[in-house]
Symmetry: C2
Subunit: 445 residues, 2 copies
């Protein structure tokens, strides 16, 4: 079975008109969400550190660092924008694999558009194919790969980045095999780093390394042509289980980008049902956080596995604590980046309420579902069942909601008029003659 070659051939032979309209629309939504997260993320200290390092060692400054006045060479720009787009945990999610597809794949493509002309049509095609490559490889090895400890966003993402950039560079079939071979041999990213800045590095290095793989392959830098399926290839070495049919079945018929999702809250998707339900409860019933005697949640098992941190001490830990999220949702009636600051995670009122929250995993509860029971001090018990959280596949964020999210994230970074122009440009991405226009429109004057 030629897994790598079959995938490479598909990417090389695909034509823009073979991308269905629904996939194009979803690509626009993904790019819009990614641009918003990247621009908003520029204020994060990890993004600032990455920019400072890149600035010292940048080559020819062809490419835009989104939401700043900085320009960098295309590899550093891909690295910085990849890191920055992930810092708020507000990026898109392919729920089946929990891969965040845009952060490893969009940055290289967008930087490349400032190095060589790319039409919107070709950009969208390459992006859709890149997402397909990354998520299909993710499907083949997840959940076993993820459970073992790999952060699939970067380990699978690097293949998507290589395929997308390689498509634009016009690689022939064997070169595309090599690009995947060179991507796979750079696949990395450990979940052990998930509650640290190390996590944010992952899509950055995937974006840059995937682009490196494509450029080297273009210059006939050889690699294995069986990196996915070989006994010592990616599928066997990085995962205890694998199903290569997931990679090769239905190519050109099924597009993974169609099941991409976007978050209403800047934290792991598994927290979203509880946050949404708590905000609804307090708004509907008008009680005060101080009225709460106890909160009992029935949650999906992933909630406790990934976000079971009882008492977060530092900002980044807040996003890995269901207890903090529930408490701060009640206190602030809103969950944005401001609810995950160093001050907010140790706020006495929030901490006291978090201590009253209990959560049990229930095999009958889906990942986008929650059962909440709030006991008030006056004896009342209020319950809420969120069957499908906002932002899930069943209740996707509307285009208008995405535009609002964009405006919220860009506020204070870009002038409102520039933000609206940028949203408009992104909505017209498939028709743009030259995608670099989009990148330049996200530059701070």
């Amino acid at each position: 079975m030629q897994v790598t070659r079959t995938l490479a051939r598909y990417v090389v032979q695909s034509k823009p008109q073979q991308i269905p309209e629904a996939a194009r629309h979803q690509a626009v939504r993904s790019m819009l969400n990614w641009l918003a997260c990247t621009i908003g993320g520029t204020v994060h200290e990890a993004a600032i550190a990455a920019r400072a390092l890149a600035d010292k060692f940048s080559g020819p400054r062809n490419a835009t660092v989104l939401g700043t006045d900085q320009r960098l060479d295309i590899f550093h720009a891909a690295w910085v924008n990849g890191i920055t787009s992930h810092v708020f945990d507000f990026d898109d999610t392919h729920l089946r694999t929990v891969i965040h597809p845009s952060p490893p794949i969009a940055p290289g493509l967008l930087a490349l558009s400032e190095y060589m002309p790319i039409t919107g049509e070709r950009f969208i095609e390459a992006f859709v194919l890149g997402v397909d490559v990354a998520c299909r490889i993710g499907n083949a090895v997840c959940p076993a790969h993820y459970h073992l400890g790999w952060h699939s966003t970067s380990t699978a993402g690097v293949f998507g980045a290589a395929a997308a950039v390689g498509k634009i560079l016009g690689l022939v079939e064997t070169q595309m095999c090599w690009a995947l071979g060179l991507a796979g041999t750079q696949a990395s990213g450990l979940r052990e780093n998930l509650s640290t800045m190390g996590k944010f590095l992952h899509p950055g290095h995937a974006a840059r390394d995937g682009m490196t793989a494509a450029f080297l392959a273009q210059d006939n830098f050889t690699a294995s042509e069986r990196i996915l399926e070989a006994p010592r290839g990616f599928g066997h070495v990085l995962s205890p289980e694998r199903n290569f049919d997931e990679i090769t079945a239905g190519l050109g018929e099924r597009f993974e980008i169609l099941i991409n999702t976007y978050k209403p809250y800047p934290c792991g998707v598994v927290l979203h049902p509880a946050i949404e339900g708590c905000i609804q409860l307090i708004k509907e019933h008008g009680f005060s956080p101080d009225d709460i005697a106890g909160v009992a949640l029935k949650v999906n098992f992933l909630v406790l596995e990934v976000t079971g941190k009882k008492r977060p001490k530092i900002a980044v830990d807040g996003k890995f604590s269901i207890y903090h999220c529930v408490a701060v949702a009640f206190v602030d009636r809103h969950v944005g980046e401001g609810q995950f600051t160093g001050d907010r995670v140790v706020d006495p009122q929030v901490v006291a309420l978090a201590d009253k929250v209990s959560a049990v995993a229930d095999a009958g509860v889906a990942a986008d579902e929650v059962h909440i029971a709030v006991r008030l001090k006056d004896g009342r018990e209020l319950t809420k069942h969120v069957e499908h959280a906002l932002g899930s596949l069943k209740r996707p964020l509307s285009d208008a909601h995405l535009d609002d999210k964009f405006r919220d994230l860009a506020a204070g970074i870009l002038p409102r008029g520039q933000t609206d122009k940028l949203i408009g440009l992104c909505r017209r991405l498939p028709e743009l003659k030259d995608v670099s226009e989009l990148a330049r429109a996200a530059q701070v004057a």
Copy 2:
């Protein structure tokens, strides 16, 4: 058990005078061998492709690309020199783990010396510590890690690069933990690429990514402080077996660089006993290659596992074929890079003789050992037992042999006078006031 922190603390607290004289001498030998391989490797097409890509995107050109007139920013220089030093498979080998220690660790340090002043004493210390970090981590997970399919040169090497560069940058203990955390989350390199140019990329990306990890940590870019031992850290995710005592026991007492070795032939060490024995046999007995009716080898199991390719078709495959190596050793009575060209691997006389070679693995044969039986057409049978191959721990290459190897590799690239000056400088490395002198001395005028 605090594995990562214990290792980080040792590296941070170590003082130059705590490095024993024998380790310093071995560091000089490693650097000499590494410089030679890097200068010689510049003619390889993989090195040329890497230089071309790096040249397009380089930042401030502070650093020397050894054996060329090119200068690159320190990250690109580390990447290019790391790739180039590995292209001939002539680099050093830590036999216990088959890690090639210098290619991932030396390039970043040497490039750094052209960015900030480093004395020879501090350079040697950082290099010895980097080798210790990489090889101890290798010891902890090999051979299981290697057998699974990981190329330990890069997966363990990236930690060594981070530790060495971090030592020079003056990281404090927790920053050094982060540097290791950021290194581990970039650890990659699949053995599936071993017979392709993809292999050569491995020490390049380890050198660059390790340096990136150290620079980010210096700017307080956080990461896991338990990347080695955590349940979803390096030791558990990248290896089915691990023994963390190998990392922490005898720090400052046992130095892995003392068991570093250097190759007399530019191919995997497992091939060396057979090559040496065949050259000795034909020189001692004066027969012609055409006189040979058959050759029977009893070899270590790794020979067939790693170099069992029966009929190499392209240049790079020659280094993964015990059959080609034996045949070409008899025909040419010498094995250098010239015995692994595209022409040589398909030469009719060599191919015909290779077809007469058989090899069986024998559990009683060590990795540096071989039994050779040559049957001549006149009926004579000649035998040779190489108990410990030249270049093995028991029969290390002499300093003079290393100097000769250097001159051979640099011939045609650097003028002889410059080569001799460079060898002299390297031999005085521990006393140099500023190691950048060594880098500049390896530049083509």
